[in-house]
């Protein structure tokens, strides 16, 4: 093995029923480097990682790990850990009903001499660990009390704390905001300087250029190439991933898009609130308007949206939908008023894992029609096929269980679920999370197209650029309260200042 190489994978192939997920893929990781693994949704990134960590049983190829004699074949994540490979998966894989400390040390709890779990030490060590990584949590609280982002940070803390040579991060940043990404990068650089090799999967190109040393690109389960970061500028990277030239930064807003002030009202919220998550707020949304919610993580963006939709029933305030007074007790009421909500936590609130892609797509439409008015099978298939085609959902068949799709493709299917209901007011909470840049642009275009058709969209994203590209107007949130709105010319500086508490709010 080459001197500073910690991991080599050679000729890895892997087939799922109906899908050749990996075809003869090579990958090399060196000590103390951050190595980006890039590719479109369904390119095989997660699959390659799962081959490494023993979750997938690859059919051909060899893996060598520094310091281990012969080829390594892991059969479980435990095996992988024993040879020094730790992983944080795309979906948070911790136990929500255990405490943060328990989650950090599950399976490797400090023991007392009597072979019982030494809680005191565990809590103390957990506390030190989260402090070192600057995560602000009470380690004795249950994990479910914290946001998805915090949960993700805990997962990273857990993985990095184990004695590891290789740390794998599969889209860890998709639920983090800029400041948290910054923190994560600090941790990553720290580990890198300690000689850990890090595999970093992300769809955020800026992040790749911010921390990575090298990039490996996959396309359709095959290796495109491995490049030092300097040799692969952004446009070339995009071309390598998509197999064609593509300008993901071109403007997509049509002329005269800014102004929707004269359009009739779609949503008028007055004093709406949900105890403990969002303080009373007023909000007007015109027909055909794209309103962005911006703010730091935990500022109450999702919570504001959820209180309108009835996902968390509002405790106070009134809501008018299309000029009519509306009472929303549960999501179905909101749906019957023409609303839809794409939730941010795809695994917990989005996908119905064991149901097929078809059933997942038609679910909301069927719910709206009611149990006794079943969509005919032919109709269901037609709808599913239409959206699989429109959003280019990569799936073996429309009857494949959705949990077998790659993360990004699951997200597209959930988006399809809402598009199928033809809503007048669609709330999209991080709709492009985990979606590759080609499709991301498609979704942004779709949002604009929907708004041109007179539909109102509420758009929540941790990526400010993305919101600048699509929104007419933004509402700014801070600490669970709406603190202002941004109108007219939206720029990165204005938004940043508003989020941080600058003077720009009106």
């Amino acid at each position: 093995m080459e001197n500073n190489v910690v991991l080599t994978m050679r000729g890895i192939s892997m087939t799922f029923p109906g899908v050749k997920a990996l075809d003869n893929v090579d990958f090399t990781l060196r000590r103390g480097e951050i190595h980006a693994l890039m590719g479109e949704n369904g390119a095989g990134k997660s699959t390659l990682i799962k081959c490494l960590t023993g979750i997938n049983d690859f059919e051909a190829g060899e893996i060598h790990v520094d310091g281990v004699e012969g080829a390594v074949k892991n059969h479980s994540t435990q095996d992988a850990q024993n040879v020094g490979i730790s992983t944080v998966y795309q979906e948070v894989n911790l136990c929500p009903n255990l405490s943060v400390a328990e989650n950090l040390y599950i399976g490797r709890e400090p023991m007392t001499p009597l072979r019982t779990i030494d809680r005191k030490t565990m809590i103390k060590k957990a506390d030190e660990l989260v402090k070192r990584l600057d995560i602000k949590v009470d380690v004795t609280q249950n994990l479910e009390n914290y946001s998805l982002a915090i949960q993700q940070m805990i997962a990273i803390a857990r993985a990095s704390d184990m004695d590891c040579k290789v740390l794998i991060l599969d889209e860890p940043t998709s639920s983090l905001d800029d400041s948290e990404v910054e923190k994560l990068f600090k941790v990553m650089n720290q580990l890198k300087s300690e000689g850990v090799g890090i595999i970093f999967v992300t769809h955020f190109l800026e992040q790749v250029y911010a921390v990575c040393d090298r990039i490996t690109v996959l396309r359709n389960g095959t290796l495109v190439g491995e490049y030092p970061i300097a040799d692969l500028p952004r446009v070339k990277l995009v071309a390598a991933m998509m197999g064609k030239d593509f300008d993901d930064l071109a403007s997509i807003k049509p002329e005269g898009f800014e102004d929707r002030h004269d359009a009739p009202m779609q949503i008028e919220a007055r004093g709406l609130s949900h105890r403990g998550t969002i303080k009373p707020f007023d909000l007007d949304i015109h027909k055909g308007e794209v309103i962005g919610l911006t703010g730091l993580l935990g500022s109450g963006r999702s919570e504001l949206a959820r209180s309108i939709y009835g996902a968390d029933k509002a405790h106070t305030g009134t809501l008018k939908v299309g000029g009519q007074e509306a009472r929303i007790n549960q999501p179905l009421d909101a749906m019957n008023l023409g609303m839809g909500l794409l939730p941010d936590d795809r695994k917990a609130e989005g996908i119905i894992g064991d149901l097929s892609v078809r059933e997942n797509i038609i679910l909301a439409l069927q719910a709206k029609r009611g149990m006794f008015k079943q969509l005919s099978r032919a109709k269901q298939e037609e709808i599913a096929d239409r959206y699989i085609d429109l959003l280019q959902i990569k799936t073996a068949t429309r009857e494949t269980p959705i949990k077998q799709l790659s993360g990004g493709n699951q997200q597209k299917a959930i988006l399809a679920r809402w598009l199928a209901t033809d809503p007048d007011f669609l709330i999209l909470d991080e709709p492009t999370r985990g979606i590759d840049i080609g499709t991301k642009t498609e979704i942004q275009k779709l949002i604009i197209q929907l708004s041109q058709e007179g539909k109102s969209i509420m758009f929540i994203s941790s990526e400010i650029e993305e919101m600048l590209r699509t929104c007419n107007r933004m509402a700014v949130l801070r600490d669970g309260a709406k603190v202002g709105e941004l109108d007219g010319e939206l720029t990165q500086e204005r938004v940043m200042a508003a989020i941080a508490g600058g003077a720009d709010n009106d």
């Binding site: 179905l332 909500l341 119905i352 064991d354 149901l355 909301a364 719910a367 009611g370 079943q374 679920r417």
Partner: protein, 362 residues
């Protein structure tokens, strides 16, 4: 290709299990010097009163298995939607039977031997029993769906209480209803055993409902991911409640059949331990007790498999005292065959064999 499809069918294993059980009978028959098809022979036999009735061991299995099959329908829905089991169905059967006979006979009366002695028309008793089943189901459903009580704990209440309430209703007596109009539900219509007809109707009705409404998808969706289902517009609680209610109704029907078979409301014995058979039927049918996707046909096959095992036991002359041991052994084998690691192992070996074949071809 077709072979692969067959083994991937969710009903494949449950069917294999039935075939295995039936095969035991065939082997036994051959060993005994009987015709190998003896087991499957369906004949007409004259009853004591001279009527021609369908008979044969297969008929016995279908007939005797009716109650568990009916219970298995409700149990399947409950398991799917709530990832829990309703352990009260056996007791609820007994309560419904007692209620039915009590309404018919009048409180405190221990026997009805003639239609003229009915305190209330029989139909009132029958409807009362079904309503009672629904009430019990609704009680369980409310506890599970709206109060978020663990299904096992919630249904434990009626598991212990329902039978006792039934006894109270019957004033601690065994109430006999020896009237043809009542006995028919556990007897024969023409040459056909009525329980088979009732079970068939239940199965067909539920299958049709599942096929022509979105109920099946709703239930599975809630069972797989309650939160996501709610966001997508399903009323998760109401759906869980409905499943328990239907399960209670099934228990009511099964209770009537069982009590009619013995022409009485024997509160202490009707449906005794039958909840376990119903749960086992669901499991044997290849359904996960963890909820989510379900296969009703599998559960039904499971129910009759259990009955087939029991009947086989009698057939082999196993004494009723040790029969449970044999039953347990058979069940262990069947459950192990269907366990995920074993399935994965089989699949892997099947796959390596077929790829080996392909390689040989090339």
């Amino acid at each position: 290709m077709t072979k692969k499809k067959l083994t991937q069918n969710p009903l494949f294993l449950p069917l294999v299990c039935v075939v295995l059980v039936l095969a035991v009978n065939v082997v036994y028959d051959i060993a005994q010097g009987n015709a190998f098809y003896d087991f499957f022979r369906i004949t007409m036999q004259a009853s004591a009163s001279g009527e021609q009735l369908l008979s044969g061991r297969l008929v016995t299995i279908l007939n005797r298995g009716s109650e568990v099959a009916i219970l298995a329908i409700g149990m399947t829905l409950v398991v799917s939607a709530s990832a829990g089991t309703d352990i009260s169905v056996g007791s609820v059967m007994s309560l419904c039977a007692s209620f039915c006979c009590m309404l018919g006979a009048g409180f405190g009366v221990s026997a009805v031997n003639d239609p003229s002695e009915f305190a209330m028309p029989l139909i009132v008793g029958l409807i009362g029993a079904l309503v009672m089943g629904c009430v019990c189901g609704a009680f369980n459903g409310a506890l599970v769906a709206y109060l978020n009580i663990q299904p096992m704990v919630a249904t434990l209440i009626l598991w212990s209480a329902a039978r006792a309430i039934g006894l109270l209703l019957c004033n601690n007596l065994i109430v006999y209803v020896r009237v043809p109009q009542y006995q028919v539900f556990g007897g024969y219509i023409g040459f056909m055993p009525t329980p088979i007809i009732i079970a068939a109707i239940c199965i067909v009705v539920v299958s049709l409902v599942l096929k022509h409404t979105a109920m099946g998808m709703y239930i599975q969706s809630v069972g797989i991911n309650k939160k996501a289902s709610r966001i997508a517009g399903l009323n998760s609680k109401r759906i869980i409640f409905m499943c328990y209610l239907l399960c209670g109704l099934c228990a009511g029907i099964a209770g009537i059949v069982n009590s009619s078979r013995i022409s009485s409301a024997d509160a202490n014995n009707i449906g005794l331990n039958m909840e376990l058979d119903a749960i086992l039927a669901v499991a044997l049918g290849g359904n996960s007790l963890g909820g989510g996707k379900f296969n009703l046909a599998g559960s039904i096959i499971g129910a009759y498999t259990i009955q087939a095992i029991t009947t086989t036991m009698y057939n082999l002359g196993v004494s009723s005292a040790v029969a449970p041991v044999f039953k347990a052994v058979v069940v262990i084998v069947i459950v192990v065959i269907q366990a995920p690691p074993v399935k994965a192992w089989v699949r892997k070996h099947a796959a390596s064999r077929s790829t080996g074949k392909e390689a040989a071809h090339a």
